[in-house]
């Protein structure tokens, strides 16, 4: 109490300074207030503390699929496959990059990636006894002659310019044993590839896959994401509909019900 009384006694004679300091504090606080970013997160609606629901939510946000977005396009019977593919490219281009990153409508980037070539470097780890047996059969003088002859023929074709490095590093084409290991991998069952696009078996549905920086608990971000998608899909021709599949529409719907 003495401290407050002492301060009062000392400062009552310096009211001008006191008011000035208070004004400065008010200004700094006001400026800070303008810098505040209001976030609406559905996580704040969860019970505080170390609750099981809160920890599950934390884990859920770290899951890779939580930032993935799948856009499903469906064409009517009157829509030709070519039109559906063109509309898919059009929608992909219309998605804003700050909300939809790395949009893919096909495995194009994956195909041109160096994965199949680099996979050959891991052949010692990937080859099994059966592979080794088959490789031994390729190491006879006759088979080596044949392989080198085939490589020479490839070098002399126009594609030789691109294949030259690969032929030099693996003239017997042993990396095919490593590539064969990928044969049974189908990350998207039921999907076929047409002109570099993911297309359903009936040819009437296509897919766009994208990442997003928006957390699935971020209500405001989810609203911006869904609004941006609604704007982008307005450009689609009649007869083609698009649906966004991710956790964000559910976050938004839940928040709206609670509010």
């Amino acid at each position: 109490m003495n401290l407050i009384a002492d301060c009062y006694e000392k400062l009552q004679k310096k009211r001008g300074w006191l008011v000035l300091v208070l004004l400065l504090l008010a200004l700094v606080s006001g400026w800070n207030l303008t810098q505040l970013k209001v976030e609406e997160s559905i996580a704040s609606m969860l019970p505080d503390g170390e609750s099981r629901v809160a920890s599950d939510f934390q884990l859920l946000q770290q899951a890779p699929f939580a930032r993935k977005i799948v856009i499903h396009l469906r064409g009517g019977e009157e829509i030709a496959t070519q039109q559906l593919l063109a509309a898919t490219d059009q929608l992909r281009a219309a998605l804003p990059a700050e909300l939809f990153s790395h949009p893919l409508s096909g495995p194009g980037a994956l195909q041109s990636a160096s994965l199949p070539m680099e996979l050959g470097d891991y052949l010692p780890f990937l080859a099994d006894a059966k592979d080794l047996q088959q490789m031994a059969q390729l190491l006879t003088p006759q088979e080596i002659d044949r392989s080198i002859g085939v490589a020479l023929a490839q070098l002399m074709q126009p594609q030789g310019v691109v294949l030259k490095k690969q032929i030099r590093s693996d003239p017997l084409d042993l990396q095919r044993f490593a590539q064969q290991k990928l044969r049974y991998i189908n990350p998207l069952p039921g999907v076929r590839l047409v002109q570099g696009h993911f297309l359903s078996r009936d040819g009437r549905s296509s897919l766009i896959l994208a990442d997003t920086p928006v957390l699935i608990t971020d209500v405001d971000g989810s609203r911006r994401l869904i609004d941006a998608f609604a704007v982008a899909k307005q450009q689609l021709p009649a007869g083609i509909r698009a649906d966004l599949i991710s956790g964000h529409p559910y976050t938004l719907a839940n928040a709206e019900v609670i509010q």
Binding site: V150, M156, V161, G196
Partner: protein, 215 residues
């Protein structure tokens, strides 16, 4: 101080004597490109033999081969080596087959699913059609000063520039077809192809654009 007054005058004179390369190139390139495009529009089919010389650092000798090339507007091709190993490919629109007599392999491909064949098909078709829009997007073109029938093309595409340093394309005197191509790769390897017995607008049998039976 006088030198400062003289500098602008000197610079103006230099600019007049050595005009900007871009302006000079476009000024002299356009008539040649125009002639090529006009000739290409009149070409429905093209049949030719060729001799190919490859200088590769991994071989001490030149690799010589002979082959045939066929084109039918708008999108059919056959590129075939007859010696030393019969091999090649045919293209019909976006689909094709390639073959190799040594491995006795014949495989189908589509330009969509085989990026390498896609690029090669695009290149050959662009040249056969003289698709100037495509070529000008992909290459910086320079008319060779010592040979008015030759163009030097430097790839603008980063991916292609990683493999190819430049192309030197020599046209026939009547500008109706390509007489020779020199392809210089990054690292110095090169390929020279000379086209001979070129026949334009000759009727080509349908079987030309089918892959052959392997023996």
């Amino acid at each position: 101080m006088r030198i400062f007054y003289l500098l602008p005058t000197l610079l103006s004179l230099l600019l007049l004597i050595f005009p900007a390369p871009g302006r000079a190139a476009s000024g002299t390139l356009q008539p040649l490109l125009g002639e090529l495009q006009t000739a290409a529009k009149q070409t429905q089919t093209l049949a030719s033999s060729f001799v190919q010389e490859k200088n590769l650092a991994i071989f001490s000798e030149k690799l010589l081969s002979q082959g045939r090339f066929f084109y039918q507007a708008p999108d059919r091709l056959r590129w075939e080596l007859l010696t030393p190993v019969a091999s090649g490919f045919v293209l019909r629109g976006g689909e094709g087959e390639r073959w190799n007599s040594l491995s006795q392999e014949r495989t189908s491909f589509s330009v969509e699913n085989d990026p390498i064949m896609g690029v090669i098909a695009q290149q050959l078709l662009a040249w056969a059609r003289v698709d100037l829009d495509w070529l000008q997007r992909r290459y910086q073109m320079r008319l060779m000063t010592d040979d008015a029938d030759s163009l030097r093309l430097i790839p603008l595409d980063q991916g292609e520039a990683g493999f190819i340093d430049y192309f030197l394309v020599q046209f026939a005197p009547d500008r109706r077809y390509i007489a020779a191509i020199l392809l210089v790769e990054q690292g110095g390897d090169s390929t020279r192809i000379r086209f001979t017995d070129v026949q334009l607008n000759k009727e080509l049998p349908k079987a030309i654009f089918q892959s052959p039976e392997l023996q």
